[in-house]
């Protein structure tokens, strides 16, 4: 056993109640994404011009928008796209980052140099510009948003991955493992990968939340998914002008984004804590 597993206080767990709440939220979100009809009987595009801009009430928990559409229903139906963007973009970013980061850190030398340069060049693009360019070329759509947000987030992760791999490589237990005769790929698989990736689990789950948030920023600039999509960012964009007169249109979808991102992050960290204990 390595020195690192000498008995130390275990990582403090987050309050149980928090994890339970987070899990509930995530389950709700998944249901909303996969089968929104289970959570609401209304249609997200059903207009009712006699009931526009009504505040939250028993009939409409989240109120109605300026076309009389039920806001809660729109939020529920928008989950699929918002979550899709978050997951898809993070997946793309992570994939790119792992490939680039690991290759750079392990290969070293010229390969490291080239990849680092590529990442630096990618870094040189404000993430927004990258997104704008991708969107300008392909037009606003769900796929475009996912790709744009993913590519925009990748360089940061790549650098982190590389940094982490380098740090871990220097760590005592890697040398110990090598000294014990474990070679190359085994070392990578059993020691390097888990230890380098562990701090990143939290970052990646944060990333899902961040991607959702980021995508809403694109919608704000009018570059999001086309209407009548009720992707959460689009809802925030539409609700903005009503903030002083119909606050629920702007505040409630925003709270939903915060809640979902928070829940995903909490769960992710719980996961990470468990993983953290095990792989030591």
């Amino acid at each position: 056993m390595t020195a690192a597993t000498l008995a130390l206080p275990r990582v403090v767990r987050l309050p149980r109640i928090g994890t339970v709440l987070a899990a509930t939220v995530v389950v709700l979100v998944l249901v909303a994404a996969v089968a929104p009809g289970l959570l609401t009987h209304r249609s997200p595009t059903a207009i009712d011009l006699t009931a526009t801009l009504r505040g939250p009430s028993w009939a409409h928990w989240f109120g109605t928008d300026d076309a009389g559409r039920d806001l809660l229903t729109r939020v529920i139906y928008g989950t699929r796209q918002s979550l899709g963007i978050g997951l898809g973009a993070t997946a793309i970013a992570f994939l790119i980052a792992v490939v680039l980061g690991f290759t750079a850190a392990l290969a070293g030398g010229v390969v490291d140099g080239i990849i680092t340069r590529i990442v630096e060049v990618a870094f040189a693009f404000p993430a927004l510009l990258l997104a704008l360019l991708v969107i300008a070329v392909r037009g606003p759509s769900l796929a475009t948003e996912i790709i744009a947000v993913g590519i925009g987030s990748a360089p940061g992760y790549a650098r982190m991955v590389r940094g982490q791999v380098l740090t871990v490589r220097q760590a005592g237990y890697i040398e110990a493992a090598a000294a014990l005769g474990h070679h190359g790929f085994t070392v990578i698989r059993r020691h390097l990968f888990p230890n380098a990736m562990r701090p990143l689990v939290a970052v990646v789950t944060l990333g899902v939340g961040q991607s959702i948030v980021w995508a809403s920023g694109l919608s704000f600039l009018g570059l999001g998914v086309p209407p009548p999509s009720s992707e959460w960012g689009a809802l925030l964009d539409a609700g903005r002008v009503h903030i002083t007169t119909s606050w629920w249109l702007e505040i409630l979808p925003g709270l939903v984004i915060v809640l979902v991102a928070l829940a995903v992050t909490t769960l992710g960290r719980t996961l990470q804590n468990r993983l953290g204990g095990a792989s030591r």
Partner: protein
């Protein structure tokens, strides 16, 4: 400087300014503002869009260029053309030559005279040297040449009679710049600080923030519609760019601005109670759908008409804009335009049953699993391309979504395609295969806009403004006749016929009029809007205490 308190002989009354509530005067319970006029001060004006240059062919440039440049003539509330730089004019009997007598002694702010040569030079600049392409397209192909007769007279000749000519040159695009300045200064200087003879001078342009205008103390050439005689009362106007509607409107309440443009429609009722408000309905082509008559499902007139009947456009507009922006049933001419035919606007009132009948007649009788009508296996799919953010605000987008939902009920599958500025202006949607319907507007003080938009497009002379790709020779002849008809009543009758042709054939579908709304602090008086395009005029405005 003294301000002559002559009776205001040009009140902001009926006509196009439909609501001009000046709540402070007369003591209708207003708290803050008194009635004592003061001189000096700085007007802080919250505008939305920052233009690339002060003068140019975009309406956003006309707003600000009008503060520093004067025109030859101006349009009055009742639609008549009144003197400005030109004190009087005569038209030759054949309608081909306009001779203008210029006000004596007017100088540009660089000291050079506003004389016949200067005016002629400006016309030539717009027409032949890319000075202002919107000015050019407004008077083409009628314009022939401009010539100075002497220091105070200039003659403009046309190659065909064109009665709308005078009204068209009242627009801000026809502001007169100093030829010396344009010729000797750099392009950048002329872009940022054009030299004119107007009530204000550009002092500084802090990009991204504001343009600072100072009063021109030697101003002698105010229009006949001005509310007072003499240079501007205030010392400075700070023309700020505040893109966010909530911030812009809220800045009035904290005193960070005195006048704002484009009040969010949700705040309109609040604005009417707390401030002075002006709502201006823009003449010209309203925001209406150009329907692609060349390719796609809309080549069939019955389908076009079904589209017009199939959604409650009036209710959608009223809901989306909270009653502030009026519905416009006439697709080719807005209600604020002389020559508007109100009868034509009544067509195609919401009638889903009729829409269904028309579609059945046209052969779209079967429906697929999603409820979309089909014919020969093809779904009734409509691509509706619109300018996201800059032509359609989010409120406008709501209107489109309401319509989309209603069209869905009768079997149209309307896909809303938001286009970015880069895409639209790069020509991505200029080919008929790329869209089926697209909404757009075009400001013009005259029904002559019909010619610009509906002139048939030929290979020899393509008309890219004809977004319906609608080539109708009868229509073409009617408009041309109307354009050259000297008798106003007859001309309007002909314009009315043209509007009827377009409406009957459903080559366009009406939606709403382009609007400008302003909210003005109660202690700032005599801010008025110029009639042809709705630009704010600050050279008569004064603060009270």
């Amino acid at each position: 400087m003294t301000r002559l308190s002559s009776p205001h002989w040009r009140r902001t009354a009926a006509g196009l300014i439909t609501i001009a509530t000046l709540a402070a005067c007369g003591g209708t319970g207003a708290a803050a503002a008194g009635d004592t006029p003061t001189t000096g001060g700085t007007i802080i004006y919250g505008h939305v869009q920052e233009p690339p240059c002060i003068f140019g062919g975009w309406i956003q440039q006309a707003y600000i260029s009008r503060q520093v440049l004067d025109g030859l003539v101006t349009e009055a509330e009742d639609g008549s053309v009144k003197p400005w730089l030109a004190t009087s004019w005569t038209t030759s009997p054949d309608g081909l030559t306009y001779t203008f007598a210029l006000k004596d002694g007017v100088k540009f702010t660089d000291g050079t005279p506003v004389d016949g040569e200067a005016v002629a030079w400006n016309f030539d600049y717009w027409e032949n040297h890319d000075g202002n392409s919107t000015a050019k397209v407004s008077i083409d192909p009628y314009y022939q040449a401009a010539k100075a007769i002497d220091a105070t007279h200039v003659a403009i000749s046309l190659n065909k009679p064109y009665p709308p000519f005078l009204t068209l040159i009242t627009q801000g695009y026809f502001g007169i710049q100093s030829p010396t300045a344009v010729k000797t200064k750099s392009e950048q200087e002329n872009c940022e600080k054009p030299i004119g003879s107007g009530g204000f001078i550009v002092k500084e342009w802090k990009h991204g923030e504001e343009v600072v205008l100072t009063k021109n103390p030697n101003y002698t050439s105010w229009p006949a519609t001005a509310k007072h005689q003499g240079p501007a009362v205030v010392d400075e106007v700070r023309w700020k760019f505040v893109a966010d509607g909530v911030s812009r409107y809220a800045s009035l309440s904290t005193g960070e601005s005195n006048v704002v443009y484009e009040v969010p429609t949700v705040s309109w009722k609040d604005a009417e109670q707390r401030y002075q408000t002006i709502r201006y309905i823009t003449p010209g082509k309203p925001v209406s759908f150009s329907i692609n008559t060349k390719t796609g499902p809309f080549t069939d007139k019955l389908v076009r008409q079904a589209f017009a009947y199939g959604a409650d456009r009036k209710a959608a507009v009223e809901a989306g804009f909270h009653g502030v922006i009026p519905y416009e049933g006439n697709p080719s001419v807005s209600q604020a335009t002389p020559g508007y035919d109100a009868e034509v606007a009544k067509a195609y009132a919401y009638d889903p049953a009729k829409a269904g009948q028309l579609l059945d007649q046209a052969g779209w009788t079967t429906r697929n699993a999603d409820g979309v009508r089909t014919k020969d296996g093809m779904p009734l799919s409509i691509k509706l391309v619109y300018g996201a953010g800059f032509i359609f605000t989010s409120e406008g987008a709501t209107v489109l979504q309401v319509l989309q939902e209603q069209w869905k009920q009768i079997g149209f599958d309307v896909k809303l395609v938001p286009a970015t500025l880069a895409e639209l202006w790069g020509g991505k949607y200029s080919d008929p295969s790329t869209f089926d319907a697209t909404p757009s507007y075009w400001t013009s003080p005259s029904a002559a806009i019909l010619w610009i938009v509906w002139r048939p497009s030929t290979t020899a002379s393509p008309n890219y403004s004809n977004r319906s790709f609608y080539n109708n020779d009868t229509l073409s002849q009617t408009i041309q006749q109307a354009n050259t008809e000297p008798d106003v009543t007859k001309a309007n009758a002909l314009y009315g016929q043209a509007q009827k042709i377009i409406q009957d054939d459903a080559a366009g579908v009406g939606l709403y009029t382009q609007n400008s709304t302003y909210a003005i602090a109660k202690n700032l008086k005599d801010v008025w809007l110029e009639k042809s395009q709705g630009e704010p005029v600050f050279s008569d405005a004064y603060f009270t205490k």
